[in-house]
């Protein structure tokens, strides 16, 4: 059963690889049908990943959160579901796949290169706080990546509008209703991610007390989560207090995600953390 699940995981990775290429071609050559086909391939990838996770859950008896293989797979799953739902409700965001699907591909790629052997769930992990911590972390990541996707679409649309309005005042682009909606969407998604990150940190602290005997131990991953939260707090202050709107907000949003992601990778490479037991 585990082998079949692993095969489906690989197939989901392949489907997302194809979708990444289709989105890139669609965006570069401005072919709507091509990235619409990409969305179809993402649906197929989601079905394969769902099958892989269900089979593995049945075989191991625990949810997909132990070890890097399972953790990254479930992060990718939540991101795909959120993207598909959001682009269905707001078709303006379909092109956000150019940013979102490569992230899914990278998550699955890193997952498939990790040890796939199932890990046992220790008694300390059977806690409601852990479920809240892990579940909210996945939704928070999806919100923040989708917000970045909305900012990518914003920048592309703003550039297209500027080109179309040669000779018109530069501020004309900011009156485009699509641009306004995209900006609002990205701000709301960042707000949701920021709120959920706070819940993730709080629930994690409560769980850590029962598992490790301490609410906060300055573990590198705890500090990384707090730093990411502070980064996004600053980004929201930029938007609300200092009115970083439009193109400036889009770049602040993308920069914050890039800085947080980069910090995570460097932390993973350099620092030691008990979290690696669960995250691989």
């Amino acid at each position: 059963m585990i082998e079949v699940a692993h095969g489906a995981y690989w197939a989901a990775l392949g489907a997302n690889g194809i979708a990444t290429v289709l989105y890139a071609i669609g965006a570069i050559f401005q072919r709507r049908q091509v990235y619409q086909a990409g969305t179809g391939v993402v649906v197929l990838g989601l079905a394969l990943l769902t099958a892989s996770m269900v089979l593995r859950w049945g075989a191991t008896g625990h949810g997909p959160y132990l070890g890097r293989y399972e953790a990254l797979g479930s992060y990718a799953w939540v991101l795909m579901v959120s993207y598909l739902l959001l682009q269905w409700k707001a078709p303006l965001l379909r092109l956000a796949g150019v940013c979102v699907i490569p992230v899914v591909f990278l998550l699955l790629g890193a997952g498939v290169l990790s040890p796939a052997a199932p890990q046992f769930e220790s008694p300390a992990m059977k806690s409601a706080w852990l479920w809240i911590h892990v579940g909210m972390a996945k939704i928070a990541l999806a919100s923040l990546v989708l917000a970045a996707g909305a900012s990518v679409v914003y920048l592309r649309r703003a550039k297209a509008l500027r080109k179309a309005q040669v000779g018109a005042p530069a501020s004309g682009a900011s009156w485009d209703i699509g641009l306004g909606r995209l900006e609002e969407l990205s701000v709301r998604l960042v707000s949701l991610g920021f709120l959920l990150l706070a819940v993730v940190i709080g629930a994690g602290a409560l769980w850590a007390n029962t598992a490790w005997g301490s609410y906060w131990s300055w573990d590198p991953i705890e500090v990384w989560a707090l730093t990411t939260w502070v980064f996004y707090g600053l980004a929201l202050h930029f938007h609300r207090l200092w009115h970083f709107a439009g193109v400036r907000w889009a770049w602040v949003n993308l920069g914050t995600l890039a800085a947080s992601g980069l910090l995570f990778i460097v932390t993973r490479l350099l620092a030691l953390s008990p979290h690696w037991i669960y995250l691989g």
Partner: protein
């Protein structure tokens, strides 16, 4: 804020003493010796325990408290004030008085007030209050951290079932990262204990029935489970890892004096230990063999339970002795009996007076954050000018939805003129 962020970044990137296991830290030191030396000299491997980091944190907290206090006073006096770019929507010749405008604004959820200056509509003013609550909650959280740092302690004790805290081999209290022996201000006895070994274990199977007696307080009896603490007047009793088997050994001297009893603890992952037999002056190396886990889980053992003893004081390379449950061994000046096997566990006793303040601060901050992030305040003014009634709107951060609402309001106002 920049310095505080820099400290956080360094803590995320550099391993911190106390936050990572000592062995892992030693491996890191061996891998990057030049970096480890520099980090140690600068104190960057223990940032969270330095005075300058805490000083920086509390300077930030103090500044946040002051600015939040000033904002709170201003908002209590005059309510939330409009912020953000103003949007001039146009001028409508409504006539001498803006009849119908308040009704239109109320239809869109605005609270309206009419004065000589015109009509003012506002809604979503809970948002700025949420922001104030969020920052106030953070201040409370910092206050809780301060109280916790000053008063918090954690103590660790290993107990077998039917054993009292006072009979334990040692109770170590950690305060500000230092472990030291200390007396307890309450007495607790473990009546019974249930253990289970994972992967098949269920959390419900790991428990201890404890009786607690405090000075001048009634008897308290409760069950502490894995992931479920027992609280007695602000003190928490946590059942932690590791746990394992405690062998009850009885030494009976041949001179007829009374027998001596003691527990030898065997951790679940490696059931070996070394102990001294009191009275006999011998050191013994012990190992549990057979189905001891099944015996503790109260399942019929599939193989007999055996305690293998190697008496170190008996000359070179002595042969090991194997004792079944209830069997005895003749040792110097007496007899050693393997009298029983019980589960044991590590208990944590903790008291943190800052915790309720931190939890309250966290909850207030979360509630405030939800309001601040998702309730956007909006203001609309309809004021007389020479050309007619000028309609203006203001909101700090909403773009498209505010514009579309303003457009609808304008259409309705123009419609009301006809």
């Amino acid at each position: 804020m920049g310095l505080f962020l820099a400290c956080l970044l360094l803590q995320a990137l550099l391993p911190q003493l106390g936050a990572v296991p000592r062995l892992q830290y030693a491996l890191w030191e061996a891998r990057y010796p030049w970096l480890a030396q520099g980090v140690d000299v600068l104190g960057l491997n223990r940032i969270a325990s330095t005075w300058w980091f805490w000083g920086l944190g509390f300077t930030l907290a103090g500044s946040l408290a002051l600015s939040t206090g000033r904002r709170a006073v201003a908002m209590i006096r005059s309510g939330p004030s409009p912020r953000g770019p103003q949007l001039v929507l146009g001028v409508i010749p409504l006539g001498e008085s803006p009849q119908g405008v308040p009704a239109i604004l109320r239809h869109h959820g605005y609270a309206t007030s009419i004065s000589r200056a015109g009509v003012e509509g506002r809604k979503g003013t809970a948002g700025p209050w949420g922001s104030l609550l969020f920052h106030g909650g953070l201040v409370l959280l910092f206050l809780g951290v301060l109280v916790s740092a000053a008063s918090r302690f954690r103590g660790f004790v290993e107990l077998a079932s039917d054993q009292a805290f006072q009979e334990s081999s040692g109770y170590l209290v950690e305060r500000r990262g230092v472990l030291s022996p200390r007396g307890l201000d309450f007495n607790a006895t473990v009546l019974e204990m249930g253990v289970a070994f994972w992967p098949d274990a269920s959390v419900k199977d790991i428990w201890a029935q404890v009786v607690v007696r405090e000075e001048g307080s009634p008897f308290v009896e409760g069950v502490v489970r894995r992931n479920q603490n027992l609280r007695v007047r602000g003190t928490s009793l946590t059942l932690g890892s590791p746990f394992g088997a405690a062998a009850l050994l009885q030494y009976t001297p041949s001179d007829g004096s009374g027998p001596l009893q003691g527990y030898v603890h065997f951790p679940a992952e490696s059931p070996q230990n070394r102990f001294t037999i009191p009275g006999a002056g011998l050191v013994a190396e012990a190992e549990l063999l057979g189905s001891w886990r099944q015996a503790l889980e109260r399942v019929a053992p599939s193989s007999p339970l055996v305690l293998r003893l190697t008496l170190v004081g008996e000359g070179n390379a002595p042969p090991p002795h194997e004792l079944g449950l209830g069997e005895s061994l003749a040792v110097a000046g007496g007899e050693l009996t393997f009298a029983g096997l019980k589960p044991w566990a590590l208990f944590m006793v903790s008291r943190d007076r800052g915790l309720p303040i931190m939890i309250l601060g966290g909850l207030i901050a979360l509630a405030g954050l939800a309001l601040a992030l998702f309730v956007a305040p909006r203001w609309v003014w309809v004021r007389p000018t020479e050309e007619g009634w000028q309609v203006r709107g203001q909101t700090p951060w909403e773009g498209a939805s505010f514009r579309s609402e303003m457009r609808r309001i304008m259409v309705e106002m123009e419609g009301s003129r006809q």
